[in-house]
Amino acid sequence: MTQAVDWWAIAAPVCLVAAAVLALLLDAFVPKQSGALPCAVTLAGVAAALAVTAALRDSERAAFCLPSRLEEPVDCSWVVDRVALVWWVVALVACGLVALLLVPAVSEGEMPGGETYFLLLCSTAGALAVAAAHDLVTLVVAMETVSLPSFALVGLRRRPRRGAEAALKFFVTSVVATAITLLGISMVYGATGSVAAGAVATSVATSSAVRPLIGVGMVLTLVGLGFKVAAVPFQAWVPDTYVGAPVPVAAYLSVVSKTAGLAGVTIVVVRFFPPYADVWSPMLGVAAAVTMTVGNLAALLQRHAVRVLAWSSVAHVGFLLVPLAAGGGAADVGALQTYAAMYALVNLGAFSVVAAVSARGATLVSDYAGLVRREPLLGLALAFALLCLAGLPPGIVGLVAKVVIFRSAVDGGVTWLAVVMAANVALGLVYYLRFVATLVAPGPEGAISSPGDDHLHGLVPASVGFVISATLIGSVALSVWPAPLFAVLA
């Protein structure tokens, strides 16, 4: 049996994989390289994938389709629609920015160049595959393609401090999650006789005899994905992993891994189990409420800068689950993607500054004291990113993204969730503002980045500086003119 493959539909991940192989080969054949070369290869791959994505924007394409019988709709394993393309853009842009953030670590020999970029590109290719997956097996394989290279990235540092432990923790959690998802999928398969979206959705809608079995299978599938997106109570691995990993990798996990997981959850609930909304909607609602509350409360207690961002990313998963809990209609998915795009941009901005400052040995929030006064670009970029995350003007982009999430909750009839969100927005403010206040406070003498100490002061690597400026300019521009961010909603 031969299948006609629409190569355009899979061109973007293919570009990434080709770049990944090239980066690995270059590492083997070009001796004595800095981080610039593999990074350039990565960026070229990302640019090519973005170009493909742009070319696809007005069309819906599918690949790996089963030969259709007359009475049934075609079931494809790979569908590239508008929703998938938005996820692609988010993942690709984030991947490019993380690639730039990794340059100093590679140049200093802390991480091996070829492998690092190879793993990064493979993982991102997996993220694209998740967004396009249209059957449960493809989805699981794609999720694993995201995860497996990430474990290695977390533990890849040549001078491991806590990297290995972090990688192990991440690995064990993730494998358990995958096992649970597989168990759930096998139940769904057993009950419906298919793993393809169309067939599952059809039999879910028609057969009532096996409804409990399908329900349990769906819940288990979602629980497994809950591990990946780090929804409470499956968030325990996040802080330790983020702290143990190199900061750019933590940024990658918090943005690309997370959006991939959310894309997966969206696909499962929207494409496979719409008739079970009465089960997954309250389940995701409770998960959203608990996740944002626990994330914010835990973030309140942190003193370590990366841990603050780690718990804040947990809290944001809570916000991101709200539109799905509100019913997961087209407008809700648009709201989710809008928020995810905003979050990706400003969170990368925050992490890029933290990466630059961590390289000088700063770890605690108090080490950032006076950053705005000594290095205005770094300090203001971080302050602005934190205000966007908090959702308060001048971080208007964060505010309007929150408005969209609120709107989704109110329109979806889960006003109680909107009220929980209201409390959480206020809770989040406390630690974001504490961080911002530290940034603008006069720094103590002899602090980590005091002027005059050349090793610690100034010297932001150009690539990191570029990411910081780009994310700052992007978030400021979107705060003044937020319309482009909402284009996906139209």
Binding site: A418, A426, L429
Partner: protein, 500 residues
């Protein structure tokens, strides 16, 4: 009539704030620059008010532009006789604050950053008053918070770094919870009417079923009530005031609290009057509790600044009672009391700040007695402000309370009349208590025999900063029609809204 007047009122201070914060020039020059800019804004706002009065009811100077088209948010601004006086008060108080910064740099320095924050607060507050789109309103409402947080947390009480940070954060958190509830109410309105535009929402609001309207009105009450603040949501206010620097207290009392009362007036009267009628008695009750509670708390305060802060709770109680009557008279009274409270309490906080500059503290013990002898002009000004605040006829405070009592005497026919009579009587009791504590305060501070030191009396820059507020206080007291007449258009607008 489309114009850029309102855009300029918002944009000038905002751009000025950016320049003052970013331009590498001497701090002093930038404070002067900020002052000049705010003078322009003040002139413009007065001109706009006069024009609004001339052209009668409805929104004027409307400005409409695309902003976030995909979610239906448009940049629509407009000014009517409800918002115009508040814009002027905001511009005036910001101007006074900047004048006070020109000569007197704060202890910890950074006067130009403080000037930038004052301008930013001015921009956000004016924006809130003139916004006609619910989301634009919300964005401006929130824009004020971060600058205010910094003003309190960084320029506040220099003896208590932890305390001022805590007070600032508490203020911020309570307000943000409130404003998030307001956002939920806005989104409920949008999901029912399909628009974020204030006038469109008001037109279509009858489509919303009654229970929903009540829920929206209740959400607005809690959300704006946290800002006003309505008892029992007032707990953040005394600490915020006592830790804030003088300009922070002036803007907090004179401008930020008005955002809450303005929000209630605008959205209860113009948008969900039917729902508000069901909730209004609760607001009236809480307002009266606030009046009595504020007065009793004032009697027990050993600190003058905290006393003025608690007196604000009482005054805001009057405004709340006026709002809760749901009549054109109530709207008039609320708006008058808003403006009067802005001028009087702004002046009181300036005077308390002046005392703090001279004596290093604001407790009655630190200030000592016999101010009439030690600094006669300062003492006289304090006495005038205190008399205005307690509602002495002939000064602005009297009319706010008087009109409120009148409005409470004949509330909207749909409201329980007897309840309002009781509320009015209790508010009268509050007036008596208020008189009590202000008279006691004037006695303790101004009269008697002082410690014998001589204080520097009111300096020329202080005259400049305080004189406009004294003029407004006396002017509105002697000729309240100046404002009532201008608000008349607003009242007719509201009665039209209420009668449908």
């Amino acid at each position: 009539m489309s114009s850029l007047v309102l855009d300029a009122l918002v944009a000038l201070p905002a751009l000025g704030a950016l320049l003052a914060a970013a331009v590498p020039a001497s701090g002093h020059r930038l404070v002067w620059f900020s002052l000049g800019l705010s003078t322009v804004v003040l002139g413009l706002s007065i001109g706009a008010w006069v024009a609004v009065v001339d052209s009668g009811p409805g929104f004027h100077f409307e400005s409409d532009a695309s902003w976030i088209e995909p979610i239906g948010v448009r940049w629509t601004l407009g000014l009517d006789s409800l918002s115009a006086p508040l814009v002027v008060v905001t511009a005036l108080l910001s101007w006074c604050c900047l004048v006070s910064l020109v000569r007197r740099a704060p202890d910890c320095g950074g006067s130009r950053q403080l000037a930038a924050l004052v301008l930013l607060i001015e921009a956000g507050s004016i924006g809130t008053f003139v916004a006609l789109d619910l989301i634009v309103f919300f964005v401006f409402f929130e824009l004020v918070l971060i600058p205010m947080w910094f003003v309190i947390a960084d320029w506040g009480d220099s003896h208590d770094a932890e305390g001022r940070r805590r007070a600032a954060t508490r203020f911020l958190v309570v307000t943000v919870v409130g404003s998030a509830l307001v956002l939920v109410a806005f989104l409920l309105l949008r999901s029912e009417t399909g628009s974020f535009d204030l006038t469109v929402v008001a037109d279509r609001v009858r489509r919303i079923d009654h229970g929903r309207q009540v829920a929206i009105a209740a959400l607005l009450l809690v959300g704006f009530g946290a800002k006003v603040p309505v008892w029992p949501l007032h707990f953040w206010l005394p600490d915020a005031h006592s830790k804030a620097p003088t300009v922070g207290s002036v803007l907090l009392a004179g401008v930020l609290l008005k955002l809450g009362t303005y929000g209630l007036l605008r959205f209860w009267y113009d948008v969900v009057p039917a729902g508000a009628l069901e909730v209004a008695p609760y607001l009236g009750g809480l307002g009266v509790v606030g009046i009595v509670y504020g007065a009793l708390a004032c009697l027990a305060q050993p600190d003058l600044k905290r006393m003025v802060a608690y007196s604000s709770i009482g005054h805001m109680g009057f405004v709340a009672l006026a709002i809760s009557t749901m009549t054109p008279q109530g709207l008039l009274a609320a708006n008058f009391a808003n403006v009067a409270h802005g001028a009087i309490t702004g002046l009181l906080f300036f005077l308390v700040g002046g005392l703090k500059d001279r004596l290093g503290g604001t407790t009655f013990d630190t200030i000592g007695r016999g101010l009439y002898g030690r600094a006669p002009r300062l003492a006289a000004l304090f006495a005038v402000a205190a008399m205005a605040s307690l509602g002495l006829p002939g000064l602005a405070g009297f009319w706010g309370e008087m009109l409120t009592m009148l409005a409470a005497f004949s509330p909207n026919p749909a409201l329980p009349q007897t309840t309002y009579l009781v509320l009015m009587a209790l508010a009268g009791l509050g007036v008596v208590l208020t008189t009590g504590y202000f008279v006691v305060a004037v006695r303790r501070i101004c009269q008697g025999v002082g410690p014998g030191d001589s204080l520097s009396d009111v300096a020329s820059d202080e005259w400049l900063a305080w004189a406009p507020l004294v003029l407004v206080t006396v002017g509105l007291g002697v000729a309240p029609m100046a404002m009532l007449w201008s608000a008349d258009g607003g009242a007719s607008l509201v009665s039209a809204v209420l009668s449908r």
